[in-house]
Structures are given as structure tokens and as C-alpha cells.
């Protein structure tokens, strides 16, 4: 399984039956492909859809039916459409259970910077700040390092923060961290990664709090 698919599959395990989930662009959109059969979630798209279904084939695309990434989607039975004010009322008002987002960087306290691209004019924010503010649980699903191989998890980010609120969980191709009391806690290693590799590719301090069956891996 490739890195991005692994991240999506691992993130999918965090979702519970009945969750209302908002998915960011990129890896997060893959997550629903890996849901177990007995878990049904309701995908919320901030441009005004609850109940987003799989993407249609090109021949079935409807110009009036897109997700927040402006890609054609379908809707499931029981879906609904609403305006942007209602949609962000759902988000800010705490009615969306989980949001899964990508990020540029994450600091040592679990705060993310995912809107202002370095070196470019800061002219787009979209719904990122509202989602960080209001979603019940925030999961970051991201590659562990950026395109230049540099850590995305750093002590302090020089990029503009999206919110003061820390995220709840970080899932990468190497590891899973949770954030509690303003500290990163490594809770799981991916099957082929090692603690040494995670330390080497992480630019921040973290505690170790193994969950599940990590002891049996001999780490």
C-alpha cells in the first residue's frame, strides 16, 4: 500500500458509525474509500451538502454538484443541500463531528498552519479556520515530511497558524500522534516504520504513549 493510501486507511479507523465528517482536499478525500462495511458516515461539504457520495464517472458529472474542492461528486439517499451560512453555522456551531484536514506544518503544541502558503500572497483561507474552530474532533492526515523531505512537524512554525486550537490526532505514513495538554504524544508506529525514523523525520519533541499492541512490536 502506498503512503497516501496507508494514511487514508489508518485515518478511516478513527471514524465511528453515524459520524458527520468534513473532508479537506487531498489525502482526506481518500479516507471514505477505506471505511469498514459496518461504519457509515455522513460527509459534509462546506459549500452546502450533507451526504456526499462517491465521485461520478466523467460522463455522469453534474456541473451543479461539486464538493469544496470544486470536484464533481454524487449524493447519497438522505442527502440535503443548504446555503453557505447554514453550512458554516453547522461547522461553527459544533454540529460536525470530525474534520480531516491536510496541513503544511504542525507545531510542537499541535497547532497547524494549512492556509497561507510560504512565499505566496496570503489571499485564500476558505473554510479552514471555521473547521478548526468548530469541528468536534480535528484529525490531520498528512505525509510526515514535505516535498523537500523536511519535517512537517516542527518545534515552531514560521507559517501563519490556522487557529490557536490544537488538533486532536495526526496520522502520517510513519506514525500516529495524539495531542493532549499542549503536547504531542506518539501513540503508534506504522507497520514498516521505526522509532528512530520517526525521531529523525520529526522536528519537534514528543512523548511516547504506546497504544494498542505496540509493545509486541518490540519497540
Amino acid at each position: 500500500m502506498k503512503a497516501k493510501e496507508y494514511i487514508a486507511a489508518r485515518t478511516a479507523k478513527e471514524l465511528q458509525d453515524g459520524d458527520v465528517v468534513n473532508l479537506g482536499i487531498g489525502i482526506p478525500t481518500l479516507v471514505v474509500d477505506y471505511l469498514p462495511r459496518d461504519v457509515r458516515v455522513f460527509v459534509h461539504s462546506e459549500n452546502g451538502i450533507l451526504g456526499v457520495g462517491p465521485s461520478p464517472g466523467p460522463e455522469h458529472a453534474d456541473a451543479d454538484l461539486v464538493n469544496a474542492g470544486k470536484l464533481p461528486v454524487t449524493v447519497e439517499e438522505g442527502s440535503s443541500f443548504f446555503d453557505s451560512a447554514a453550512s458554516f453555522g453547522m461547522i461553527r456551531g459544533g454540529h460536525v463531528d470530525v474534520t480531516i484536514l491536510g496541513t503544511l506544518e504542525i507545531n510542537q503544541r499541535g497547532q497547524i498552519a494549512n492556509w497561507a502558503v510560504p512565499g505566496k500572497a496570503v489571499l485564500g483561507v476558505g473554510g479552514a479556520m471555521d473547521l478548526l474552530e468548530g469541528a468536534g474532533k480535528v484529525i490531520v492526515a498528512t505525509m510526515h515530511t514535505n516535498k523537500d523531505g523536511q519535517p512537517k512537524i516542527v518545534k515552531e512554525t514560521s507559517l501563519e497558524l490556522t487557529s490557536l486550537r490544537p488538533v486532536d490526532l495526526i496520522v502520517t505514513e510513519l506514525a500516529v500522534f495524539c495531542v493532549r495538554d499542549g503536547r504531542l504524544r506518539l501513540i503508534e508506529l506504522a507497520p514498516h516504520s521505526t522509532l528512530e525514523e520517526v525521531r529523525q523525520k520529526t522536528g519537534a519533541e514528543f512523548d511516547i504513549e504506546w497504544r494498542e499492541n505496540m509493545e509486541t512490536k518490540g519497540v
Binding site: N47, V75, D83, L123, L164
Partner: protein, 220 residues
């Protein structure tokens, strides 16, 4: 009762220096027939409240290339490099708002509310210069509401009174914009007889709508 006009007559209602609200999330739900007609007209120094400014050379993006937009208020302009360039050259002022704050500012403007406090953006770059207030121990930012001279919106069907229904995710900002401008022009696929739309399905009641324009062949 809403008056039925063509796109040329719609554009004639827009004056130099006007503030416009234009519906749409990208090009989805944008009244492209009227916007295309606007690009053939001469109204300039426009302030445009819209989530985006079209795409390169498409929709509102054409007005940007024509240097007729003085200021834009929206949430996501990075998808159109022409907007970024115009801003860097100092030709286009941009006010960036989180998308939920933008939507709520328009809703509030149409509902007679002067402004509101939102927690979104507290502690970020977008909080700079905004009044902060603690409410029940939580910090909020003040955001004034938005209104416009003219709203150009997109709906699916209208009846002759001006009642509107929308289609799928093209609804987005349109219903709020219908409430928040002195003059509201709705571009629709079709105008049907009064009574043909069920009272239960009407999203925008006719009292908000001044003019109806039937969508033409869109040049994209």
C-alpha cells in the same frame, strides 16, 4: 412582482463605483450570463463581494483582467493567479474573510444586523485590527455585516412573482445575497407560472427579488 429583463438591461442597473454581491462558489452558482454581459459593459471601480473572483479569464476573472474591480471581499482568491497578480501590482484591494465569516456577514446584512461576534480566526493573522470580546470566557472577534448596491445571483427556477428555488450545490451564497442588496437580480434557467413551485420548496421568497433574467448561452 419581479420584473423580467434581459442581461443587457440587468447590467444597465450597475453604475460606476457600485458594490456588487455576486453568487457562486467558483463558477458553480455564479450568474454567468449577467457576468459575461457585465464584461461587455463599462461600469468600473467596482467593489465585488464574492467567495472567489472567478477563474483565469472566466466569470468575474474577466473583470479583473479588465481592471474594473477596485476591491474584492471574499474567502479564496488564490485559485485565480490573475487576482493575485493584480493585488501584487496594487491594482486590486483584497479583504480576506474566513468563508463562514463571509457567509454570516452577508446573512446579517440582509437581516438588519449591524455585525456579530465570531470565534473563527481568533489569534490568527486575520484577527489583526478586529475588536476582541470575551463572552462567557471565550474570545470572539467582531465582524461588521455586509450589504451591497446590487446583488447578482443564480437560481434554478423562478415563478413570475420572483420566488426562487436552487439546484444542488449551486445554492451556496445566493440565498443570503438575495437578502442583502438594494437591487437584486436573479439569473434563472426558467421562469414558471405562479403556483408551479410548491410553497414548501421555495427557498427565496419573492419579496427579496427585484428582477429576473433568463440564462443565455454561456460563453466560457
Amino acid at each position: 412582482m419581479a420584473k423580467i429583463i434581459d442581461a443587457k438591461e440587468a447590467v444597465a442597473l450597475i453604475k460606476d463605483g457600485d458594490c456588487l454581491m455576486v453568487g457562486g462558489f467558483g463558477l458553480v452558482g455564479c450568474p454567468l450570463t449577467i457576468v459575461n454581459e457585465l464584461s461587455q459593459s463599462h461600469a468600473k471601480d467596482l467593489t465585488i463581494i464574492s467567495n472567489n473572483l472567478g477563474e483565469p479569464g472566466k466569470g468575474l476573472g474577466v473583470l479583473v483582467l479588465q481592471k474594473r474591480v477596485k476591491k474584492a471581499i471574499g474567502s479564496y482568491f488564490t485559485s485565480n493567479p490573475d487576482v493575485v497578480q493584480a493585488n501584487q501590482k496594487g491594482e486590486l484591494e483584497i479583504q480576506l474573510l474566513p468563508q463562514g465569516t463571509l457567509a454570516e456577514a452577508i446573512r446579517a446584512g440582509g437581516a438588519g444586523i449591524g455585525g456579530f461576534y465570531t470565534p473563527t480566526g481568533v489569534g490568527t493573522k486575520l484577527a489583526e485590527g478586529k475588536e476582541r470580546k470575551l463572552i462567557n470566557g471565550k474570545e470572539y472577534l467582531f465582524e461588521p455585516s455586509l450589504r451591497a448596491d446590487v446583488a447578482l445571483i443564480r437560481a434554478y427556477k423562478a415563478d413570475r412573482l420572483g420566488n426562487l428555488i436552487y439546484r444542488k450545490s449551486s445554492r451556496n451564497f445566493n440565498p443570503m445575497m438575495a437578502t442583502a442588496a438594494a437591487t437584486v437580480i436573479a439569473e434563472v434557467d426558467e421562469i414558471v407560472d405562479v403556483g408551479a413551485l410548491s410553497a414548501e420548496e421555495i427557498v427565496t421568497p419573492h419579496l427579496f427579488v427585484d428582477y429576473l433574467t433568463v440564462k443565455g448561452e454561456c460563453r466560457l
